[in-house]
């Protein structure tokens, strides 16, 4: 990589972005290299989105990007300009927990809880996409989210319960 071109461009220029996060507009200036997950956590204080592997593997940083699950460690904040982002903080309404949150609680779909925000956001998306048709389909659709405690059993039950309680054999 030649230094001449590098010198010609201004890597320090901040980029103005407008992010619609959990229904609220945020206008802020970001560095081009700022990751969405760090912008959410460090700039906006939304620390419910966790940082796990930072390599697009574990899914702890999963948020909804225009309603669909993405790993926010592998999205630049500038890429989210003009888009709607939903984090775990934006899920519960005035009338209580989101149905997926409620199902995780009722089914004991967590132990230490570190993976839970990402699991819940991934589950909201996969249910909305119609991927939760049986246990196997849920396991396949959740493969991008790692849990080191539960062995996944109760997580899968929680997702099936939230999607359609009749899908759970042993409920």
């Amino acid at each position: 990589m030649s230094d001449s071109v590098f010198d010609d461009v201004d890597v320090d220029t901040m980029i103005p972005v407008r992010l619609l996060i959990n229904g609220r507009d945020h206008e802020l200036d970001v560095e081009p290299r700022d990751l969405l997950v760090l912008t959410l956590r460090d700039r906006l204080g939304l620390t419910g989105t966790h940082i796990g592997c930072e390599t697009t593997s574990c899914g702890a940083c999963t948020v909804l990007f225009d309603g669909r699950s993405v790993k926010s460690c592998t999205v630049l904040a500038v890429q989210a300009d003009g888009h709607a982002i939903t984090t775990i903080e934006g899920l519960a309404g005035d009338d209580g927990l989101h149905p997926v949150q409620d199902a995780f609680r009722r089914c004991h779909g967590l132990q230490c809880g570190f993976c839970t925000p990402g699991m819940v956001m991934a589950a909201v998306s996969l249910i909305d996409e119609g991927r939760a048709t049986d246990e196997k389909s849920v396991r396949l659709a959740l493969k991008g989210n790692l849990c080191r405690c539960t062995g996944y059993h109760n997580i899968v039950r929680a997702v099936l319960t939230a999607a359609d309680p009749s899908l759970v054999d042993d409920a």
Partner: protein, 274 residues
């Protein structure tokens, strides 16, 4: 894990992206969904001075019925391929290969153009496109040009794209109900393939191999065997005739060669792994 600093430019159109590429040359990289580029930028394996974001360029995300062929815009995301009823009916191999990429989150962001342009031999989609004998449509400052996928891949992470060209469209034939198979072998479901095989049957059978060389490999000898009516077991033995796999932490060369024959046998039998 944060990328090295870079300057950011947002392209408003393919033409604008080409202008920016012409301006910055090899110091620039195109960003679409970012699921090939950003991981290597975070590892500092890539440190482009300029990132040209084509992610919001309008008009490059489509799966269009073009008569004899189906035209797919470069910004079409894996999930759109996976969910496409047109592909399900007409190009089921490509739909299935897209469904095997990464995980849901990755498929929500990654694009076919990005996966194809990156040129990673471990990628699934290029092998499916190789089996389908896809045509790549490249746009440069002066004009568009088309080429068969065989001419597009030159070497490890190396394609026929000139520094000022953008891959804008991929065209695939519509094999419809012809037999096909797809095999992706890895230790864990979220891993890249240790070896993968894509097979498209029909009048002109095609076989593409994942991770069996510096770039996506066509199993030409096995294709000839299939066309001439050889038994599945015999054709599968020719899977690695043109391959030049490397050894890495996941597999030895001999194991990769063995896997390619086993997986081709399964693919020729019409099996599809998830």
């Amino acid at each position: 894990m944060i990328p090295a600093p870079f300057a950011y430019r947002r392209a408003e159109s393919a033409e604008h992206a080409i202008e920016l590429l012409s301006e910055f040359g090899e110091d620039a990289k195109l960003l679409a969904g970012g699921h090939s580029l950003l991981p290597i930028m975070k590892l500092r394996l890539a440190t482009p001075a300029v990132v040209i974001d084509i992610g919001s360029v309008p008009g490059l995300s489509y799966i269009r019925d073009g008569g004899g062929e189906i035209a797919i815009g470069a910004l079409t995301r894996h999930v759109q391929l996976e969910m496409s009823s047109l592909l399900r009916l007409q190009v089921p191999l490509l739909r299935h290969a897209a469904s095997a990429v990464g995980d849901c989150q990755i498929r929500h962001r990654g694009t076919i153009g990005g996966a194809v342009s990156h040129g990673d031999p471990a990628a699934d989609i290029p092998a499916a496109l190789m089996a389908l004998r896809a045509t790549m449509v490249l746009q440069g400052p002066q004009s568009r040009r088309s080429m068969p996928i065989d001419d597009f891949y030159l070497g490890f992470l190396e394609t026929a794209l000139a520094p000022d060209e953008v891959l804008v469209e991929i065209r695939v034939p519509r094999p419809g109900p012809a037999p096909w198979g797809f095999q992706k072998f890895r230790r864990r479901s979220i891993d890249w393939a240790i070896v993968g095989v894509a097979y498209q049957g029909g009048d002109n059978p095609g076989i593409g191999l994942v991770n069996m060389g510096p770039t996506t490999v066509r199993a030409a000898a096995a294709e000839v065997a299939v066309l001439s009516g050889s038994a599945i077991e015999e054709a599968a033995l020719l899977a690695d005739a043109e391959a030049a796999p490397v050894e890495d932490a996941a597999a030895s060369i001999a194991y990769r060669r063995h896997l390619s024959r086993v997986l081709l046998r399964r693919a020729l039998a019409g099996e599809a792994s998830s």
